[in-house]
């Protein structure tokens, strides 16, 4: 039988890999990322630029915490918050019929960047984040002594 420790490790690695890749590609091309956010038509220009500057590093720091196992509960909640936000933005774009590149992984990621695929991926990763939070108490009690 698979232990909760292994499940938590698997979830952490998957989430960390996605966050790290997404964060680095966005941080390397902040101009293209700000344009991608603008295409959602959700925020004023100044907020689009601010989100473009900050979000990549929030993803990278969350990934590093998930990888190292430090502050796992905080990292899980941040992951839940980010994927909830991404899901709402993508759902909004899908409902308005916007045919845009999601901007999830830099300027060009082909079919992986379509709104439909990105929405399914965001929901799946949101579920992963919630699952990680559920299995965390046993994991963090044993490994980190983190309080629930």
């Amino acid at each position: 039988m698979i232990s909760t420790h292994r499940i938590a490790l698997f979830l952490r690695l998957v989430l960390a890999a996605v966050f790290l890749y997404a964060g680095i590609t966005k941080a390397l091309d902040v101009s293209a990322f700000s344009q991608a956010i603008t295409r959602y038509e959700l925020l004023p220009a100044v907020l689009n630029l601010s989100v473009a500057a900050v979000l990549p590093f929030l993803e990278i720091y969350t990934a590093l915490l998930l990888l190292t196992g430090a502050w796992l509960r905080a990292a899980s909640w941040l992951s839940i918050l980010m994927y909830s936000m991404f899901s709402v933005a993508l759902l909004s774009a899908a409902m308005r019929g916007l045919s845009i590149d999601c901007g999830c992984f830099g300027s060009s990621a082909g079919a992986w960047s379509s709104v439909g695929v990105a929405l399914l991926r965001a929901i799946a990763l949101l579920c992963f984040s919630l699952a990680l939070l559920v299995v965390l108490p046993a994991e963090s009690d044993v490994k980190n002594g983190e309080q629930s």
Partner: protein, 158 residues
């Protein structure tokens, strides 16, 4: 416990804000300063076919290659300028030299790439009034047995 969790989350967010401000503050400020020529919401590039591009080339009009610079060096449509997606310096150079021409045609590899759309968008925001997208891209151009140019020196991108 909740307080400790909240503190940690706030600390991580604050760290991300500081890193973003330090590393991207100047470029974000520059983007903010240069964003206002055209409203992005008005961007509506016009898709064009190969025959249109042939005439465009014959007239010596402005063409931008949105593929990577190494792809550009290996071969490109005649007289095209290289502006890979996300390359702010080359974008700035093309805007500085040619924005007075108002019209620009952009292409990338093939119908499956989105870089021509992205670069066209940046050119529109920077001041070009009419952006044409050659959606078939370089693959379609080569299928048409048209002449291409290869650029051997690294400085030949503009």
């Amino acid at each position: 416990m909740m307080r400790s969790l909240f503190k940690r989350m706030t600390l991580i967010i604050a760290l991300a804000v500081i890193t973003g401000a330090v590393l991207h503050g100047p470029s974000i400020y520059s983007l903010w300063q240069n964003t206002a020529v055209h409203d992005l919401e008005l961007y509506s590039p016009q898709p064009v076919e190969r025959s249109f591009v042939q005439q465009w080339v014959q007239k010596g009009q402005l063409i931008v290659d949105a593929r990577s610079h190494s792809d550009y060096l290996n071969g490109h449509i005649g007289r095209a300028h290289s502006v890979p997606a996300g390359d702010g310096q080359r974008l700035h150079d093309v805007v500085a030299c040619c924005v007075d021409r108002q019209q620009v045609l952009v292409y990338c590899s093939s119908v499956s790439c989105s870089d021509s759309f992205t670069v066209g968008e940046a050119l529109f925001v920077a001041g070009f009034t009419q952006v044409y997208l050659y959606e078939g891209g370089f693959a379609d151009w080569q299928q048409g047995q048209h002449n291409t140019e290869a650029t051997l020196d690294e400085q030949g991108g503009q």
